[in-house]
Symmetry: C2
Subunit: 87 residues, 2 copies
């Protein structure tokens, strides 16, 4: 198990605000994640320019969870196919 | 293609705030997505009780994108395995 001392601090900027993300991921991974969130927020802001930042962030999370659930379905199907071929 | 008339409006509650989600997904799917976001926000709030709602929502999105990217990697690996078996 990795200890506290293995945790990295990565400072990222999302929608004009700085966040310090603490975790075991590489800074490269954290920055890629932050970039994706930042882009998604800007994209949703273009479609709904009157949303305040909190609602915009919540709707960004909703958007990503939607894609996450769909991807999870795909994983299930791929795993089922895998099992069939292994029979 | 589905037209405008096929779009559903689903009202959901996330972190004490109501949102009207418009889209072609079933209300059941939209509610499941909203529930997941709501739970994640409450979970992150417990770990960071002093964050304001905007930062909490942004960090929730960061958290979900992190899981999304990891799941995407898994899909890639499963698809590679699939291709090998089809050779």
């Amino acid at each position: 198990m990795a200890g506290e001392q293995d945790k990295k601090r990565t400072v990222v900027s999302i929608y004009g605000q700085q966040y310090t993300i603490v975790g075991r991921e590489t800074s490269q991974h954290v920055k890629a994640v932050a970039n994706l969130v930042d882009n998604k927020m800007k994209e949703i802001n273009k479609l709904n320019p009157y949303l305040d930042t909190t609602k915009l962030a919540v709707l960004t999370a909703v958007n990503i969870v939607d894609e996450y659930i769909k991807l999870k379905e795909k994983v299930k199907q791929l795993e089922k196919l895998q099992e069939k071929e292994e029979e």
